[in-house]
Amino acid sequence: MDADISQAPQQTITVSTGNNIWKRLRRSNLSNYLLLIAGALVMVIPFIWMLSTSFKPQAETISFPPRLLPMHPTLDNYFETFQRLNMGRLYLNTAFIAVVKTIINVYTSSLIGYIFGKFVFRGRDLLFYIILATWIIPFEVYMIPLYVMMVNFGLGDTYWALILPEISSAYAVFLFRQFMFTIPNDLLDAGRIDGASEWYIFHRLILPLSRPVIATLVAFYFMWNWNDFLWPLIVISSTNKYVLPVGLAVFVAEHGTQYGLTMAGASLAIVPVVILFLLTQRHIVQGITLTGMK
């Protein structure tokens, strides 16, 4: 502190307050850590309890007082759940649907967003705002006619019914359009002068430049599609076409009181997503600040 005073007055202020804040933060951070760790425990305990129960034999799950660790740990719940839930099939179905829906939606939305962001033509803004406005229609409003339409098209109980209504999403279009404003026009014009076709410019110039938005949206829509529930519940009726959340919900309705089984089912549904999340969390957490929606 003495050394600070000998320096120029302006610097003195910044340096000494900087020091003060640092000290204060350090002091207060300890209580921050304690509160945050307590909170983190609250966040984690349900998952730990889920895993712990899933390794317990049925008799142990309903013993009192409850124990954190199973006395006779068993994998039976997993074997039984995997079989009864037809888990391999559910994973495949869900992954297939989620991947297809995500790729199509992100690709088409980037293309549409590019057109709205980088071209000038009559009626552009009107069309864009009509598309954007469809975003606020609650799903509950159009799910009923959509279901009737799908049945009339003969697409009830097919994956077409899951994929077709999600070919493009207004919000993804909106985000891409916003992102396009950051790409300089000169770059496109340079491409055109070199004689590149519009498709070439989009695929070779625009898509690589949009990598951050694409990564975020892919991670994001994949997670969202993986967990989608209401629409698959309505249109899919054959059990061998079920997706994971629907399969799990039906399983819980059937085996509600066998908590070892339902916890094994929940674990099997959660663990792959958590692993995927840990691998891609950077994109997702960044994406939320970008998109502000779940």
Partner: protein
């Protein structure tokens, strides 16, 4: 300056050639078809259905005008359902916002380990609501569930979490707040990063306490973010479905029956699609109202 900014635009506009036009048309024609076929047409169709006594699989649907709207608005159960939905949306949003803001303020100054903490808080956000509800169904179990076991161990009476009409909704809300708080926290953290450090340094010099800094700098400066979080939280809350579908099926005594669940039941179990469609438009009205609030807030100039 102005000229140089306009120039490339003009050049760009004049460069609309055949190839460009074809490109735009190739993309926008299917796009328009998609949004008309899968969004606008169903919207109109839903309204049309709401004016009919519409039953699935029936050949002829009878036009009834606004009778469906009249019926639901005079139905005490529907009023209760709307009330439940507001109860959930408001309580979950208010609680979730407060907890998330508090967590964000706690986590913001932390450097070491903040990534791990953020990941832990974010874990339920990643997870399917159905899986989370499955787990909490077990935690809430009256006799052997973890929560009541812990209560009994410290000598408190058991709580009939999902079994009593008074406790069921608070239980669903508690779970939903737990599941969503990590998401809101991340949004608040982004907002906090936007507040200049110098504001706090200035307050520090004036001798403001941490609490005063939160009260007079953080909260007012985060107002736009908070408004966004609250409005989107309410809209999301109006749609609550999976939790109540799996955990209570709307019971006990319809105390957790929400709009989305009610619409689903009417449309796909009872097959009264006209009535269900009219209920969906009530929900649409709520969402539109919230969206206008949101647009108003966004237009407001925030000055500090």
């Amino acid at each position: 300056m102005a000229a140089s900014k306009v120039m490339p635009r003009k050049a760009h506009r004049s460069s609309v050639r055949g190839g460009e036009f074809r490109f735009i048309a190739t993309v926008l024609v299917p796009t328009t078809i998609f949004y008309v076929l899968f969004r606008l047409y169903p919207l109109a169709y839903a309204f049309y259905m709401s004016l009919h006594d519409w039953k699935l699989l029936r050949v002829q649907q009878t036009f009834v005008g606004l009778k469906n709207y009249q019926t639901i608005l005079n139905d005490p159960l529907f009023i209760k359902v709307v009330g439940n939905t507001f109860y959930f949306a408001i309580a979950a949003t208010v609680l979730g916002t407060i907890v998330a803001l508090y967590l964000a303020i706690l986590i913001n100054p932390i450097e070491r380990g903040s990534t791990v903490l953020r990941l832990l808080y974010f874990l339920p956000v990643m997870t399917s609501t159905i899986a989370i509800a499955t787990v909490w169904l077990w935690l809430y179990q009256t006799r052997f569930g973890l929560f009541n076991a812990l209560l009994t161990m410290i000598g408190l009476p058991r709580i009939p979490w999902l079994q009593s009409p008074d406790w069921a909704m608070p239980s669903i809300i508690l779970m939903s707040v737990w599941a969503g708080v990590g998401f809101t926290m991340i949004i608040f953290l982004a907002g906090l990063r936007g507040i200049p450090r110098s504001f706090y340094e200035a307050a520090e010099i004036d001798g403001a306490t941490t609490l005063q800094q939160v009260r007079y700098i953080t909260i007012p400066l985060l107002a736009p973010v908070t408004a966004f979080v609250v409005v989107t939280g309410l809209i999301g809350g109006f749609n609550v479905f999976q939790q109540v579908f799996l955990m209570t099926r709307g019971g006990p005594l319809d105390s957790t029956r929400t709009l989305a669940l009610h619409i689903y039941d009417y449309a796909f179990l009872r097959l009264f699609m006209g009535t269900a469609a009219s209920m969906a438009f009530v929900m649409f009205a709520l969402v539109i109202a919230m969206t206008f609030v949101q647009l108003r807030i966004q237009r407001t100039e925030w000055e500090f």
